[in-house]
Each structure stands twice: as C-alpha cells, then as structure tokens.
Amino acid sequence: MNNERPKKNDEQLSADPIVEIAAMHKWFGDFHVLKDINLTVQKGERIIICGPSGSGKSTLIRCINRLEEHQKGRIIVDGIELTNDLKNIEKIREEVGMVFQHFNLFPHLTILENLCLGPVWVRKTPKAEAEETAMFFLEKVHIADQALKYPGQLSGGQQQRVAIARSLCMRPKVMLFDEPTSALDPEMIKEVLDVMIDLAQEGMTMLVVSHEMGFAKSAAHRVLFMDEGEILEENIPVEFFENPQHERTKLFLSQILH
C-alpha cells in the first residue's frame, strides 16, 4: 500500500506550482554553496531533501523564505518573486511556515502566546480568534494541556510539536522543515514524525530536509539527493531507496541505511 501511494498522489497533483526555483545560485563569500538549482514544487507535493552535511540542503530551503539571499536565478513563491523588496519578503514569509532543528520557540512567552504572536501581529487576527486557532492546533499536536507553560518547561519533542503548531497557526501554504528531528532524543523522534505524517495526509505542501527514511517512504512524493550544492538525483521514494542511480547516492544510502 505504502509503495503505491506516492504514485497515486502524483496523478492527483495538478500542474499548479507553489514554489518555482530556476537556475538559482548562491555563494557564501567565495564559496559556491548552491549551484544551478532548478526545482518546481506543486501544491500539495511533499519533497524530502537529503544529502551529506554541508551539501547545501538547509541553505536551499532557507532561500525559499529568504532567511538566506540567493545571488543568481529566480525564486518564485506563491506567484511572488523573491527580491530585495521587504514587503514581498514579508508577504512570502506569511505564507511559508518554517520549523527549525533547534525549535526556536520564544522562551519569554507561554506556549499559547508563542502560537498567537504571528496571527495577531502579522495577520491582525482578533486575539480571541487567534487563541481558538492556537488551541485547535495544539490539540492536533496532542499538547493542548501545556498551553500555559513556557517552552523551557517542555521536552524537546514537545517543543518541536509546539513549533510545528506555531507555524500552522499562520495557515501557511508551504511548510519548510529544516532537520526537524535531528536535535531530538530517539524516543521523541516518533512523536514529531507522527505529527508530520498527519500533516502530510491532510495534503500540506512540505519541503523536508531530513534523513528519516521512514517518513520519506510513507509520506513523500519525491526525494532529492544533494551533494556539494547540486541536486544530483531525484526520484520517487521507492525507486530512490531501492534503485539509486548515482554512485554518490549509493554511498550515502549505504552509510545511513545499515
């Protein structure tokens, strides 16, 4: 069943791109981090990006909400091209949620305040309504009973689930996950992945930098493999794991799937 699902979803995907990246390059100083990236993400599509550390995978998704600036090529998100125009950048960030490796919750605010901040200040939602939405998403990530605590009082897995809920409160069109489980203890990884799988089943567009192969197999449409700033290989999950084409991919997979 699992093996068939991605194919089926592929058929359902309309040609309705939400993120388009064309001939995009990025340098850190003299260092060429991203080389000629071309990637189109359809609405509802879920893409896993994996690769060795330093391959530029985090930098790639951070370019999509302009936490990093690209120097060449084009990035178009939800019909808006990313330029230096601050207004556009803020507009895009409203539509693109991001979950970080280290959660980055706001430690001086309660969980509920963390969740309401974006909707109230950016979307100008009335406070009561924002709190209602916040509680709805806290229920969804199974953590509603912690609403009045501070982030420091929660475990890593709980914090990451709050971080996901915080992004969801903005009702984003795309969710970016930057190694969401890498900083977690093994027993907490599952609770976060479960939430992500729920999200996937509801049809959220997701770009996930992760080595969680289980998640890739059960929820992703495509897997991208990056090395030294290039997208070396891309395929549907089954093919990617069982029949890698590139030598570098084979080596990488042999190292993580032992």
Partner: protein, 364 residues
C-alpha cells in the same frame, strides 16, 4: 537485642552535633580553617573597637535638636545640624512659605514610583497617570497658574532638583540608549557609524566636561537673545552621557540572543519593529537588567556633579549649610545624612531590579 539495634539505628540517623545547630553553623562559617579562624578573630577585634565607639558618638553623646554651640559642648555627633537646617538642605532656595509645593510634588513622585513597582499595573492608564502626574509636579514647582506664585527655576534646589535630574535623566536615557544600541547594529552604514561615533565620543569624555560644555561653551554657540535654562542643559548632558553607557550594555544583551530567535521571528513574517519589540528586546533587556541598573545607580549618584556648574542640588545645599559659621565642623554628620538619602535611592533601585529579575525569570 531488638531494642538496642533500633536505638542504634535511630542514633545513626542524626547528624553529628558539630554539623547542626549553632555550633555547626559557627564551625562551618567562622572557623572552618585556620585562615578563616584568623579572619574571624581579626574581624571581631575591629568590631569590638569600632562599634561601641560609634554607638557612643552617634547616639549616647549626640545632640539632636540644639544649637551649634551646644553641640560642641556635648562632644558627640551633632545631628542638630540636620534637624535645624532640614528644610534648607531638602528644599534649598525654594521660597520658604511655598515648601509644601516641592514636598507635594515629591509625594506624588514617590506614589507614582510605588504604584509602578507592580508589573500588573504596566498598562496604558499608568502612562496617562504618569503624564498627568508630571504635569502637576511641573505646575507645583513652576507655579504661575491657579493662583500659585511663579518660582524661577534658578530657585529649584535641594532634593527636588536631585530627583528631577535623576528621574528624567534615567527615564530618558534608557530608551535613547536602546535606540543607540539598535542603531549600532543597523545594516545602514550611515546610522551605524553615526551611533558608533556618538557612543565612543561620549564614553571617551568625563561627565564633568560634558556638564562644563553644556553650561559654558554651549551658550556661546546660541544666537543672541536665546537662552536655555541651566537645569535643562545639565539634564540634557546627563541624558546624553548615560544613554551612551546604556547603549553598550544593551548591545551586549542583543548579542546574547541567538540567531535562531531572529530567524523564527522573521519566518513568522514579523517586520523589524515587531521582531525587536516582541521577541528580541524583551529577552535582551532582561539579560542586561543587572548591568543596566548598575549604570542607572551610578548615574543617580553622578547627578551630584552638577554642583560644579552652580546648580544647588542636595549635595550643594548641604555644603552651603556647612559654610554657615554656626555649623562649621559638623560635616561628617551632614554628609552621613545625605549619604543615607542617596543610599535609600540606590538601594531601592537595586532591590527592585532583583525583584524584577525574579519575576521575569519565573517562567523560564
């Protein structure tokens, strides 16, 4: 057999006598090593030498409400210098029959400060209360309305002047310092270098020279016929000086906030002002409470430097009392008195900052 073993057990549960109670405390804190025992004995010796003599001078032989001559005869501390000159030390040259006005102003100020201690009241209405309070205080000092005879600002002196310079100086310097710190981190080169030049220039100059500049040099640059009040000029100098120090402390706090906080705020779509106001500054300012209160305390004490440009603050009115031949020679008593006033101010600031820290760190 059973009984004895039980009693041995219950005895073993008690710590040895030398570890608990008074003996244990004395042992642990005063005589824990040879060196500590030595220090304890030396300290006790000095206390024995100093405390009785001080008590005798300050209380037993002291005079509390006599003339200067009677003081000299008594030999002990002459608190009479404070008692007899109290109103001059506190209110200075403010017209004698109108002393109730600065007194009322100070009562309003202390009430406002007392109310503001409670974070639950940090709401919009408190801002309005402060605004109207400041207006009433200004009116009380200045007069000229509602039948209050006007009082020249040159006659403002003593404690009200010290409080005026400190409260306005500190409350204006703090936000200005925060702005300078943000400006120094700005990506816009013009703003950034302007802030750096400002901060480094001010920090490279003693407050006294700034006060001199503001009172002697600054008027030379003004066009003829325009004068700016001497108090206002000193006030501005204090604000500008303190702000530069606050700026550097706040910058330290800003650097302590991880990049992840900036990124999380940005990825939610918050703009620069929202990000700074809601996420970065609350955390950064909390971190820098101890050093910034240190700066505010030293700024409070530095207001006494305005004596050198001829303003009669609390220190100067005290000195003026001491130059009266009837009271010459009792400077120790007079200075102890104003030291207590300064101490009360500084200590309440520092204990309030500790309370604020406790409250702010409660959740995290």
């Amino acid at each position: 057999m059973v009984d004895s073993s039980q009693s041995i057990q219950s005895e073993q549960l008690k710590p040895p006598i030398t570890r608990i109670g008074v003996i244990g405390w004395v042992h642990a804190n005063l005589f824990s090593s040879v060196f500590n025992s030595f220090l304890t004995i030396v300290t006790l010796y000095f206390l024995w030498k100093i405390v009785p003599a001080f008590v005798r001078w300050a209380f037993i032989d002291s005079s509390w409400n006599t003339t200067g001559a009677a003081c000299r005869a008594a030999g002990g501390a002459c608190w009479s210098i404070v008692a007899k000159n109290f109103r001059f030390i506190i209110f200075g040259f403010f017209p004698y029959e109108s002393h109730w006005r600065p007194l009322l102003a100070m009562i309003i100020l202390f009430t406002l400060l007392f109310i503001s201690r409670n974070r639950r009241y940090w709401k919009k209405w408190l801002g309005y209360v402060w605004l109207s309070g400041l207006f009433v205080m200004g009116l009380l000092l200045k007069g000229g309305l509602f039948g209050l005879p006007p009082v020249e600002s040159t006659k403002w002196s003593g404690l009200p002047l010290t409080l005026l310079l400190s409260v306005f100086g500190l409350t204006a310097a703090y936000p200005l310092g925060v702005l300078l710190a943000l400006g120094r981190q700005s990506r816009m080169p013009a703003i950034k270098s302007l802030c750096i030049v400002y901060i480094e220039t001010i920090r490279g100059v003693p407050l006294i020279s700034l006060l001199f500049m503001s009172s002697v040099m600054f008027p030379l640059f003004l066009p003829e016929g325009i004068t700016i009040n001497n108090i206002l000029r000193a006030q501005v100098a204090i604000i500008l000086f303190t702000a530069a120090y606050i700026a550097e402390v706040v910058r330290g706090g800003l650097q302590a906030i991880s990049r992840g906080q900036y990124e999380a705020a940005e990825s939610l779509g918050l703009n620069y002002y929202q990000k700074m106001r809601l996420i970065i500054l609350p955390q950064a300012l909390k971190i820098v409470i101890p050093p910034s209160v240190g700066i505010l305390i030293s700024a409070f004490k530095d207001t006494s430097l305005v004596v050198i440009i001829g303003l009669f603050d609390l220190l100067k009115t005290t000195q003026a009392t001491l130059s009266d031949p009837r009271w010459m020679g009792f400077s120790v008593e007079a200075y102890i008195f104003i030291a207590l006033i300064y101490f009360a101010g500084c200590f309440s600031m520092s204990s309030y900052s500790r309370r604020l820290e406790r409250e702010l760190y409660r959740g995290t």
